[in-house]
């Protein structure tokens, strides 16, 4: 089942990772620069998203039209994601064009050009994206939950806030680019058909002489007291989001708790789907997941229901979260384990998913786990192991954020700290 992930360390702190998929017509890459939104200055929130957008518009060598044509003519499907500690530039394209794409990305990353006119366009998009969140209450509630539950900078929204986005200048972009877009700790992950020797040579040529160290992010902090917030808005469904502390990938009880999370909300036989949707019919959508952050983890849960059923839904949801402490059955464990291991295997079929896994592992553990190792970590656990972990890490204290129409007892924008 296992195959080797090739790894090469450049002298400047960039790690190149290669996952060979021979004969594949498509290759994927993910370049993760350690310049995520956690190190944004308080008064320039949202600057990282603007930077990433501006970098894809033009370079010092290529005007907008030229850069766009160069990227598009490779048949490239690309995306930029601003995450808490990294900015990720990903793409998938015909394997034969991989080297040309990496050359272009070296230019994008190392020779950006920030011009006022382009900044105004990028800002207009960013401001619309912020306002648009109000029109998507199901998304907004999760953004607000993260903000309330994760009290360090990791809980921020990558979009920033209107007040700061509206005043970011080209000088801010220059300064933040210089301060945070640095190679030390960057990752370049490639999956598909490639010649490793050629790839190493190319990455050394393109990035080897880039030098610099980005600022260190402050540690993650999670709220550990009960907290509730109600945001009043005219919506058809009341959006209910509940979060609480869990553990990160480095924690010895991560694997049993990940299995517990799958029992709670893995497949359609999971507890939340069964109790909240199948037995009561109060929701269409209900789910929970264990989200890992550097050194930490949180459980994020969601349910959407019509306002008259909101109290019942919230109560059932929380009761199920609390009931996990009482333990799971052998059959539940087996289903959860089969689900996780099957997805792990099926993800191997997608080159883009493979690059994502390499980057996630390197960021959390400083190495890429082999498939065998991950399999073993799940396979060796018994019901007793999982139950011990669930007892040691019961659900709560809950941070609850809701969005919905005004009801008795909730004034506009009421915030109630319990």
């Amino acid at each position: 089942m296992d195959h080797t992930i090739a790894q090469h360390e450049c002298g400047n702190g960039i790690t190149l990772l290669g996952d060979l998929m021979e004969g594949r017509p498509v290759a994927s890459f993910c370049i993760a620069i350690p310049a995520g939104y956690v190190t944004e200055p308080e008064d320039r929130l949202g600057v990282t998203g603007l930077l990433a957008g501006m970098m894809m518009r033009q370079t010092r060598r290529r005007a907008p039209r030229e850069l766009s044509n160069s990227l598009e003519s490779l048949g490239l499907h690309r995306g930029e994601a601003v995450r808490s500690e990294t900015v990720q530039f990903s793409g998938a394209l015909p394997a034969s064009e991989l080297a040309s794409a990496l050359r272009l990305y070296a230019e994008i990353l190392r020779a950006p050009l920030f011009e006022p006119e382009e900044l105004e366009s990028e800002r207009a998009l960013a401001m619309q994206a912020l306002a648009s969140l109000n029109d998507r209450p199901a998304r907004k509630v999760m953004v607000e939950l993260r903000r309330a539950l994760i009290t360090s900078a990791h809980g921020r929204s990558p979009l920033g806030v209107e007040e700061t986005v509206s005043r970011i200048s080209c000088a801010d972009l220059e300064r933040e680019y210089g301060r945070r877009f640095q190679p030390h700790g960057a990752l370049i992950a490639v999956a598909g058909a490639f010649d490793w020797g050629v790839l190493v040579g190319l990455v050394e040529e393109l990035f080897g002489d880039w030098q610099g160290v980005p600022p260190r992010p402050a540690p993650v902090e999670i709220r550990r007291q009960e907290y509730a917030q109600m945001l009043v808005q005219e919506t058809a469904q009341q959006q209910i989001a509940v979060g609480y502390p869990s553990v990160g990938l480095v924690h010895p009880q991560f694997y049993p708790l990940r299995l517990g999370a799958a029992v709670l909300s893995g497949g359609m036989s999971s507890r939340l789907f069964t109790e909240v949707r199948e037995r009561r019919g109060v929701v269409y959508s209900v789910h929970a997941s264990l989200v890992t952050l550097p050194g930490e983890g949180v459980m994020l849960c969601y349910a959407g229901t019509t306002p008259q059923r909101a109290l019942e839904t919230e109560a059932v949801l929380k009761a199920e979260l609390l009931r996990m402490r009482e333990g799971i059955t052998e059959a539940e464990l087996e289903r959860a384990r089969t689900g996780i291991l099957s997805s792990l295997m099926m993800d191997q079929e997608s080159s883009l998913a493979r690059t994502g896994r390499m980057v996630a592992d390197m960021r959390s553990l400083g190495r890429v786990r082999s498939l065998t190792e991950v399999y073993e970590c799940y396979r060796r656990l018994s019901v007793a192991d999982v139950n011990a972990a669930l007892e040691a890490h019961p659900a709560g204290p809950f941070t609850t954020v809701q969005i919905g129409p005004e009801q008795d007892g909730s004034g506009p924008g009421a915030e109630v700290e319990q």
Partner: protein, 412 residues
């Protein structure tokens, strides 16, 4: 890439299509039922989609909880969806679970439709309708289809309405199932690493009792509407709009050129609408596409912007559309979009689950078994002259436009 396409018609008329890939790590299978909201009678609006849910709520020998449990026991990634003209049940598992996946999927299509579960699921469907009320883009496409298609069944809404779902009876659903779920109107598609003989043998037994025949479909072409429709909403801050214009049906080979042309106009980055609307920040989203449905095809597009930009954005889209129809596309533009289209095809063709959709689509709409290489070829052959010719042949290029505006002063 060596993949082998297989096909076999079972004794009951059910067609089984396979694409074997020795390099795959999983097997995917889907039953594609040729029925959707366009096949519903006026008093059964939303029944196709409601039935899709009910299929998971118990069969003759399995309860709803059994079905959910068994799918999870084999680690399946599975789901179902309903469109205007298809209801699809699919799953993907590791090859060792092939037999159990087939058994489950085959069993689902003969649901028990018991009234207790029907009542419970009615509540879930009403929640789903409420969920989409909070999604402006969905509201627009739904209303747009209804004005574009006028009274034609292609304009029927998939979810139905609160009224139609509240009034629906389990007997109506049983009658619909009897009428529409017939062996010759259903296709089983299997992709990835599977044992073909075993699939056929097992499915032959599983489906032996299925009603034979084909439910058929009224494929009278619609008479598309043109004009502008506008509504106000107090729920949303932005303006959301969409437009549609007649294009080419899937049986018409010109639809490939039409699809590429729509990409040049507004198929994401590097397209004309990207340069003139998105990159300058005039709108948060703005794109166009060409869609093929059973016996009909259309160009369509959508946008989202702020209220103060709406007039400008709509005018730009209108100008671009007129110029597009009049002048066609340049060689450079077409070449770039062809490259993107080809890599999208290959990327989507990476996994058995994605390949399932490509294979089924080509068969359902065009009656062909299409290897990935042929789909790529078809795109690569298109020339700018062909695109110009295709656009000049459009009988009518008037558009139907639907715009959802924020109610003035309704919300912050």
């Amino acid at each position: 890439m060596s993949r082998q396409i297989l096909m076999h018609r079972l004794g009951n008329g059910l067609l089984v299509i396979g694409e074997y890939d020795a390099a795959a790590l999983s097997v995917a299978a889907g039953f594609f039922v040729r029925t959707g909201s366009r096949d519903e009678r006026r008093d059964e609006a939303g029944v196709s989609h409601f039935l899709e849910h009910m299929v998971f709520k118990g069969s003759a020998d399995r309860s709803a909880l059994d079905i959910n449990r068994e799918f999870d026991e084999i680690g399946a990634q599975y789901n179902a969806f309903t469109s205007e003209e298809q209801t699809v049940f699919y799953g993907c598992v590791l090859p060792e679970f092939q037999v159990r996946l087939m058994e489950l999927l085959g069993n689902l299509l003969q649901p028990a439709l018991c009234s207790d579960e029907f009542e419970m699921e009615r509540k879930v469907i009403l929640e789903e309708i409420a969920l989409y009320e909070d999604r402006p883009g969905f509201q627009v496409s739904d209303r747009l289809r209804s004005v574009f298609f006028g009274g034609h069944p292609l304009g029927n809404n998939v979810l139905g309405t609160v009224e139609s779902i509240s009034a629906m009876t389990v007997d109506q659903m049983r009658a619909y199932h009897q009428r529409r779920y017939r062996a010759e109107g259903i296709r089983l598609v299997v992709t990835g690493r599977f044992e073909w003989e075993r699939v056929l043998e097992q499915v032959e037994k599983l489906t032996a009792s299925w009603i034979r025949g084909d439910a058929g479909r009224d494929t009278t072409a619609p008479e598309p509407g043109t004009g502008v429709w506008q509504e106000e909403s107090n729920r949303f801050q932005h303006v959301y709009g969409g437009w549609m214009a007649p294009g080419f049906p899937p049986m018409d080979p010109r639809h490939v050129a039409a699809g590429l042309a729509a990409m040049v106009l507004g198929g994401g980055r590097g397209s004309r609408l990207d340069w003139d609307v998105l990159r300058p920040g005039l709108a948060l989203s703005c794109g166009s596409y060409h869609v093929e449905e059973d016996g009909f095809g259309y160009f369509g597009g959508s946008f989202q912007c702020t209220l103060d930009r709406a007039t400008e954005v709509r005018a730009l889209i209108g100008d671009h559309w007129d110029r597009f129809v009049r002048e066609g596309v340049t060689e450079d533009e077409l070449e770039r979009m062809k490259r993107k289209a080809v890599s999208a095809l290959c990327l989507q063709g990476e996994t058995p689950l994605d390949r399932l959709t490509q294979l089924a689509g080509a068969w359902e709409y065009r009656g062909i078994l299409q290897p990935l290489e042929d789909a790529v070829d078809e795109v690569e052959r298109v020339t700018p002259a062909e695109v110009r010719e295709v656009l000049s042949e459009l009988d009518c290029h008037g558009r139907a436009e639907f715009v959802l505006m924020p109610e003035p002063g309704a919300r912050r």
